[in-house]
Symmetry: C2
């Protein structure tokens, strides 16, 4: 085993020199660990929604072409870091080897874990890509991955199917930050409410805002809208295109009698949803952007352009306790759990 | 005069349809106003720092090539919206015509104003580009611009040179947000402290944190570091490359005895300063990104990647009272005012 590597994984950066693993173009994914690393036998990848959307479009929906492109990216970059969207996803696997200086000494080989750190900074070496689900963006693979000493991860729960836990853990920063921000009686708008981060955030918003609050779910897919209504997790569910600024503004304005949202959670996985989110939010309110399709300048200049004093936050994928909160949400809300099971556990075996 | 246009300027969007003027590719910059618009005889453009940096590099520092590129962009897009950086800047000029339904009825033709809205959403029609300053990114031009009913602007003060006021107003969101966030006794790190947004933010941080606080100025240019020291606006001034994550972390960690910053204000105008800003900030602290060179995904995934629970804010160019606060800072602090005068008023006449 090689001597102790850098806490943040700098020793694995191939190019450009001096940057951290996330912004790096290429990592050294050699599947032999340094003293403070963890080696994982990778079983399943969960490609981030913005990235998978892009890969699907590029490959014209052909699963074999998507697989080939993923293998190509991982080979070229030493990590599954989509060069177009800049985003990654996460993985599950079995602990193969624990470095002697890895911070968590309770972890043992054989434990089933999920990485809670983006694939964009996880050294990954793929042997084989087997099944791919076009519906979920999950793949069954054989390969090795490395976790650095600084990387958060979660031991998988035994009371739910793995793909379900993986899907929830992939987006667990969003519901955790929603739970932290939303206050009782708040008006909350969830954009892209029908996806997994949208639904988990919706549940936390519903729970925190309470019956005196007002939770508005915006979602483009009519079928997803019907499901949200059936779950009973929102005061209003509206089927609309969240990239249309005027439609979003008019809808939220009408439903709130012109007050607009205290908190807007943006989980839309396509470009151009920045301004609609800003317009839906009241002066002094907060917008949290969780979508990897968000452009920094579009948000910054957009708010200035409409003269709107809103706090705009970059959704942080790490919040203490986020993994436990996401899994607990599934246990607390049977309708949510059923949706995750239907959506994720049947797709790939 | 044409009938009342849209409050947010949608009636000027040429393509793509349905988006707001900021994200639009092209605006209709016809210099004839609608009822609720304002027409300006443009005198001076102030190109945003990230954009000007990019234009300078692309044109290999040749002022004539930069001018030609600016004329080209404005002709193609109907606005000075740099297609590479996505950023703009602002302008000053004289009110030429006030639409009958423009919200501010006190404004009269002949008043000298600065737009407080990005050039990326301001319809602009250039007749001539005259002088260009490579030092400041300001240009003297002849042309017309249009302000929408929703656009903030400021009447120029009579007690300071126009280029000085323009330079301060261009970045006035940063010091205003700094003033709002920094609390007495806070530890504050200002990255890119030697530029205009850096210096104005530094002044507000220094004022708000007080002597019990700790203000750390990071700046790459040694000459700028000496100037900051002479101004006496920081407890520590360190000359370093703010894109080097380890150097930034070690420096801030040493100066704060491992506590790190409560608030980090990032005003660095080159890429890859996201992670250094995150690393300089303590758990639970706040990072505000004001640079147009920031990548959303790099920040979001970077914080997750190092498992750091920091609030990351997209610097909003609009904060109520921001223009007055920036100009007042120059009046309050003679050293700051002198720097702005030396740097901006002598460059172009």
């Amino acid at each position: 085993m090689r001597k102790e590597g850098h806490h943040y994984g700098l020793h694995r950066v191939v190019e450009p020199a001096g940057v951290l693993p996330q912004p790096a173009w290429k990592l050294d994914a050699t599947p032999e660990i340094w003293e403070n690393e963890l080696l994982i036998d990778v079983e399943r990848l969960n490609i981030d929604s913005a990235s998978f959307q892009q890969l699907k479009t590029e490959a014209e929906g052909d699963p074999e072409r998507i697989k080939r492109r993923i293998v190509e990216i991982v080979k070229e970059r030493g990590k599954m870091h989509n060069p177009v969207t800049g985003s990654g996803g996460m993985l599950i696997g079995t602990v193969a080897e624990v470095g002697s200086a890895f911070p968590d000494h309770t972890l043992a080989p054989g434990a089933k874990i999920a990485s809670l750190v983006s694939l964009t900074l996880t050294p990954l070496w793929l042997e084989d890509v087997r099944e791919l689900s076009l519906e979920t963006g999950q793949l069954k693979v054989t390969g090795k991955a490395v976790l650095f000493a600084s990387a958060p991860y979660a031991v998988l729960p035994s009371d739910m199917p793995e793909p379900v836990a993986l899907a929830a853990l992939d987006v667990c920063g969003a519901p955790a930050q929603t739970a932290r921000l939303v206050q009782p009686t708040d008006t909350v708008v969830i954009m892209g409410a029908g996806g997994k981060s949208g639904l988990l955030s919706l549940y936390q918003a519903w729970k925190k805002a309470g019956q005196q609050g007002c939770v508005i779910a915006l979602e483009a897919n009519p079928e997803a809208c019907r499901r949200i209504e059936a779950m009973g997790l929102a005061h209003h569910v509206v089927c609309l295109d969240a990239t249309d600024p005027l439609q979003v503004l008019e809808t939220v304005s009408t439903l709130t009698r012109g007050r607009l949202a205290d908190v807007t959670i943006n989980c839309v996985n396509v470009p151009r949803s920045e301004l609609p989110a800003i317009l839906a939010t009241q002066e002094g309110g907060v917008v949290v952007f969780f979508s990897m399709a968000v452009q920094f300048t579009t948000a910054a200049l957009g708010a200035e352009g409409v003269g709107k004093d809103v706090q705009m936050m970059i959704g942080n994928g790490y919040v203490p306790g986020h993994a436990a909160l996401a899994l607990e949400s599934l246990r607390e809300c049977p309708a949510l759990y059923d949706w995750f099971c239907q959506r994720f556990s049947s797709q790939i075996g």
